[in-house]
Symmetry: C2
Subunit: 108 residues, 2 copies
DNA sequence: TATTTGCGTAAGCAAATGCTTACATATATA
DNA sequence: TATATATGTAAGCATTTGCTTACGCAAATA
């Protein structure tokens, strides 16, 4: 069972959950109310988000408040930023442009 | 068949492929040489990366040079940056710290 | 022209994923 | 104390994923 941040945020429902609680913690039922899927489905998503450290849970009586704890997103950010210079260099790459024009045969 | 950038970079092999060709394009066999898995497996990963625009292919004879085209990573970057202020605010959040200390009962 | 090389892709398969329903348990409330 | 509420989790299931082997085809080479 792979459980890293890249995989955690690959699922759109989990991204929505993060977005939902990013700026205000909610308990599990309140989160589930925002989705079509069942409460256990959300509970399982939350479990994954907890496992990779993207959510903290605070027990308050019988409720469990989920709050975002997004430092781990930095791992993804760092991986991406390695390449930023690469895709932002749009000038002084005339060779590339020429290459493209030369090889512009329709791919199958 | 979901095919977005978040899912594309969720797979560690695909991240390695991106890293491998980020700074110098390689043909498919040359890429496959760097992995334990079979050439068709890599071919399928490449297909996914092409589908979501992270790789461009340039035919040269019978070879297909794969070059990274990572602008799409910006979508992920934007999503993450929305939350950066959140996880970087480590000061003036004394209330949080206090909360944590108060509720520091071992979670089962 | 015959063979080798570089690659795509289909078929099959095991494992992972995301969901459901059903149940269990702890805490609040009547 | 009996019931309602908030939640976790197991079992089952369909789909997706990542891989393999087997094959096909086009381009290079002998």
């Amino acid at each position: 069972m792979r459980r890293d941040v890249f995989q955690a945020i690959a699922d759109p429902t989990r991204r929505e959950i993060i977005n939902l609680i990013a700026f205000n913690p909610l308990n599990l039922n309140a989160i589930a109310d925002n989705f079509e899927v069942s409460r256990p489905a959300i509970s399982q998503h939350i479990k994954i988000l907890i496992a990779c450290g993207l959510i903290n849970v605070k027990k308050q009586g019988r409720e469990r408040y989920c709050e975002a704890s997004l430092q781990q997103l930095n791992e993804v950010s760092i991986w991406i930023e390695k390449y930023r210079q690469l895709w932002e260099v749009k000038f002084n790459r005339l060779d590339d442009l020429l290459d493209k024009m030369k090889n512009d045969t329709p791919e199958q």
